[in-house]
Subunit: 355 residues, 2 copies
């Protein structure tokens, strides 16, 4: 393990993105999304992904000089063609337009086609916060989850993020994958030889499995809710909701046709759409309620949940996004730890691109 500052990781990733052909502005934007994940403790979506983006680019699946443009619009709503660019660049551009529309029309909503993996959904939702707006972001992703009663991977981890400004408290940031658990959690259990709870995964036949080795042999994640008896159909419906909003509404791919993030998996033939899809939105608080009053109620909401009676006296009740704010404070002070494998990957990228 080695420890880095956000600036060090930013410099490296900006250089890598520029070596791949991005202009400086886009490279900085993409790097900011990745390192914001690292500083917030979402290690699976930070610079550890850099190698994956490079591999996709080498496979000719990413356009590093995209011309991102509005292809359809009606006042508060619009669609974006991401021109095959990095989602890390395309989504913030769409979100900036959503914020502008919200200034004009109270709210702004953008469906994005022809994009790629956009990093953490929360980053994009949080772009609304400085404008006293509620932000939201969704994306579809590599198919890895079968619907209830099916053994075919039809949905990705399809995250939903919402960010709400607060007053004296930190903003409430909801950012959740619609899978029951992240693939990374199962991989950690495998490395550490731990037994995983029933419901975290299914085998290639669609049956509940606790054999973590099966994840590399056709095993799949489960929808939020886990198995049928604990309402997996609800997680399936939420993942489907995200898939329709991001894929069908935008004209991107959906279901099993969503292009995989990993470059060694093939893209299916007869694609129904273009690239990967996102959906972003912003709503100005002021159109619903006085901003100061709203923020003060948010503080009260947060405080009341923080002080809800505990099951165990020493086990805190968290509000969504709180842990990430704490890790950010800690890592801003003490640096971001990266494991040896990631450090090695980054060293490899430095050599490869001579940066």
């Amino acid at each position: 393990m080695q420890v880095f500052t956000k600036e060090e990781l930013s410099e490296l990733s900006v250089n890598v993105f520029m070596a791949m052909g991005a202009n400086e502005l886009d490279a900085k934007q993409a790097s900011d999304v990745l390192t914001s994940a690292d500083i917030r403790g979402i290690d699976s979506h930070g610079v550890s992904r850099l190698l994956g983006y490079v591999a996709l680019w080498e496979a000719g699946r990413i356009n590093m000089t995209p011309e991102v443009k509005i292809i359809r619009e009606n006042k508060s709503t619009f669609s974006i063609d991401g021109d095959g660019g990095l989602g890390l660049v395309v989504a913030p551009k769409a979100m900036a337009i959503a914020v502008e529309r919200a200034k004009q029309y109270g709210s702004g909503w953008g469906a994005i086609q022809n994009s790629n993996h956009f990093g953490i959904a929360g980053y994009h939702a949080m772009m609304a916060l400085p404008h006293d707006m509620i932000g939201m972001a969704m994306t579809n992703a590599t198919p890895f989850i079968p619907p209830t009663h099916s053994k075919e991977a039809m949905l990705g981890t399809n995250p939903i993020a919402y960010a709400f400004p607060a007053g004296s408290e930190r903003p409430l940031v909801i950012d959740l994958a619609t899978a029951s658990v992240a693939r990374g959690k199962i991989e950690i259990a495998r490395r550490e030889g731990k037994v995983i709870p029933k419901g975290w995964m299914v085998d290639k036949h669609g049956n509940a499995s606790q054999n973590v080795d099966e994840l590399k042999d056709g095993g799949m994640l489960t929808p939020l809710g886990s198995l049928e008896e604990l309402s997996s159909h609800k997680g399936y419906a939420l993942g489907g909701l995200v898939d329709v909003m991001t894929g069908v509404l935008s004209g991107a791919n959906y279901g099993k046709w969503v292009p995989p993030f990993v470059s060694f998996l093939p893209i299916l033939p007869n694609l129904p759409g273009k690239g990967l899809g996102h959906f972003v939105g912003a709503m100005e608080i002021e159109g619903f309620r006085g901003t100061a009053e709203f923020k003060s109620s948010m503080d009260h909401w947060i405080q009341s949940f923080k002080s809800a009676e505990r099951v165990k006296a020493d086990q805190e009740v968290y509000v969504p996004g709180e842990k990430e704010y704490r890790i950010k404070a800690e890592r801003t002070a003490n640096g971001i730890p990266l494991n040896d494998k990631v450090v090695e990957d980054l060293e490899g990228l430095k050599k490869k691109f001579r940066v």
Copy 2:
């Protein structure tokens, strides 16, 4: 058990609502929400609730002649004061305004304060469908779910509903409570002496319990995800999302202060807002993508999920809302079965109101 037509149940409930003081238009609207639940097989939210609405009205908690008005607005966004009316009446009025705003600005979004229980969320979302719009509706509800690590009921079953128009297929209607299972499912298990799965409920100390009798002794539902090891924090975050959008944004009550549906539970002192809160929205498809093209993609989406490989050959893969459409067809042909307890309650109401 007795069987009724939708028309019979409508006539009865219209008469009851009018006897309570509603005008004919409002009574018909409220009745349509209830009987739409019955015909779609969501028995827990149909005419079986009529007694509950009457009890709330008798307790002075419902205004049967509300003046529903816009109290704040900014083009695509607005807030509504429901004037203490039935949610069954207030929410459709708000949804009609959202649809109008969507015609003008591409989308329309309304936060509603000072309302009451609004029936099935899906009804309101589906109001957008005839306009070639995507509809959405949320509400907060009687606190009955503790956040992860807490033993205090801070959230209701807080449902999220989205409705998407399709072409030759039936619309995709997502309508899910953010609890892992409905209270009604536990009550049925209790009546039938069945063992419930671990994760459906917790006892008054916040610990997982399979003792269904504890539901009446401080027991509570769990958030979607069920217990901590299966990501209850995600269901908690979704329930919180709904609570903030419906309660905080509108100026209604939120968290443990949401007024309970059951009249025998007291309303807490020092309420932070007014009544119960909803949030509704509508987005015109045309602002994102050609409507015909979107509907054709929706058909393809639905067909691809319907034909996803099955775990068991005889176990169908459903798409969200499909079961309800099937029950509707069946009940339209053969009638709506009501159990003896509900029939008795309705007979009681008929006598009480001489209708």
